[in-house]
């Protein structure tokens, strides 16, 4: 089946349902613009035609986000993320998602205790630390440095 047709089918279904259904798919596509799960669906429109739920082409990886300490827990923890997405981009996404203040700092840790460089690609992290076909990332907020 042409992946594009599959994707088109899903887009139509999403817009008809009028909402964002995180539980329909095992992993939610992470977009650049998503504010919260209750926002009108935007990310599907931007998803590339190669997107596959089985991630067979390995363009995306499954990321499981776990909150540390007093950091708010995201309602959606499992995301399908482009391999080329950087840690910084992911951090910005989570910060927007959690509506962090400007003076709050978000840390992301891989392997439970190592903060990868902001420019590190999540695909590389997955290759190094992925297990059970997913990458577990811990995130933690803190007041700014000063």
């Amino acid at each position: 089946m042409n992946p594009k047709e599959v994707e088109t089918g899903r887009r139509i279904a999403s817009s008809r349902s009028g909402g964002w259904q995180p539980k329909v798919r095992p992993s939610t596509k992470m977009s650049d613009n998503a504010e919260s799960p209750n926002e009108p669906q935007k990310e599907e429109l931007h998803s590339p035609p190669e997107e596959s739920m089985a991630n067979e082409e390995k363009k995306k990886i499954d990321v499981l986000l776990k909150a540390v300490g007093d950091t708010p827990i995201m309602k959606t923890k499992k995301w399908a993320v482009d391999r080329s997405r950087t840690v910084q981009s992911l951090s910005q996404f989570i910060s927007r998602f959690l509506k962090l203040d400007a003076n709050e700092q978000l840390f992301i840790y891989v392997n439970q205790s190592f903060a990868p460089s902001p420019d590190q690609e999540v695909g590389v992290l997955f290759d190094c630390f992925g297990s059970d076909s997913k990458l577990v990332l811990h995130y933690c907020k803190s007041q700014a440095w000063g």
């Binding site: 650049d32 540390v68 300490g69 007093d70 950091t71 080329s84 950087t86 910084q88 981009s89 951090s91 910005q92 400007a102 003076n103 700092q105 840390f107 840790y109 891989v110 392997n111 439970q112 205790s113 190592f114 903060a115 990868p116 460089s117 902001p118 420019d119 590190q120 690609e121 590389v124 992290l125 190094c128 630390f129 811990h138 933690c140 803190s142 007041q143 700014a144 440095w145 000063g146």
Partner: protein, 239 residues
């Protein structure tokens, strides 16, 4: 809730473990003892090429540029062993993707020291930057080494974050990353490690988090390598 502080002995043990990894990765860190005593600090010197244009983008060695950020230049880093006596005058670090914009660039010599603070019971990062000719850079000029994601936040509260201080052991002016928030941002991840009974290295975790603020690259391999055989004591001593 116990504070997550680092005892001085633990600091040394963590540095010892960290240095073993650094040696394997040839990352250039060394231990500088204090007049034959057990005390000392860790030190590393790195070369970084930065654009002379304003609005530089920091792009560390080994990673592609982030497509979302407007990159006016690329900066590359090379590691220089701390005991090299300045023979690398022409920058040829042999990195793969070092691309420099046509606008011109210059090479900075960045020196990083990790000392232990008894007052805060935490490591403290000192650093200074100079050109290859030896001229020191001001704080304004070192902003180009701060990762863009941190730049605006640091500039909002610069005096309480990066300050110029006299190096406690050398007596020379260095920039220092203030340690007052270290315990606070380290606490959650340390508690996570305790719960999971992991074997983390305080110095490695801390350095990976603060490194991007000061243009210091801590390669991912530090976390993927097997830890070296170490003394049986736990690396972290709760207060």
């Amino acid at each position: 809730m116990s504070a997550c502080l680092l005892g001085e002995e633990s600091f040394r043990q963590c540095c010892w473990r960290f240095l073993k990894l650094s040696d394997r990765l040839r990352d250039g860190w060394s231990w500088e003892p204090l007049q034959g005593s057990e005390e000392g600090y860790m030190r590393k010197t790195a070369l970084r090429s930065v654009s002379v244009n304003s609005g530089p983008t920091w792009n560390p060695h080994g990673s592609r540029s982030d497509k979302e950020s407007p990159a006016s230049c690329h900066c590359a880093a090379a590691t220089e062993q701390a005991d090299v006596d300045g023979t690398h005058d022409d920058l040829d670090p042999g990195y793969d993707d070092g691309v420099v914009s046509g606008g011109g660039s210059r090479v900075l010599r960045l020196e990083y020291h990790i000392l232990y603070s008894c007052s805060y019971m935490a490591p403290v990062l000192y650093f200074r930057a100079s050109t290859l000719e030896g001229r020191s850079l001001s704080l304004d000029q070192v902003w180009s080494c701060v990762h863009p994601s941190f730049r605006s936040r640091l500039q909002r509260s610069p005096l309480t974050t990066i300050t110029q201080q006299e190096h406690p052991l050398l007596g020379q002016p260095f920039f220092m990353l203030h340690p007052c928030k270290t315990e606070e941002f380290m606490r959650p991840v340390l508690q996570l490690e305790r719960e999971q009974h992991g074997q983390m290295n305080y110095i490695l975790t801390w350095l990976s988090a603060v490194g991007p603020l000061v243009g210091l690259d801590v390669p991912l391999k530090y976390s993927t390598l097997q830890p070296p055989a170490s003394p049986p004591e736990a690396c972290l001593q709760p207060s």
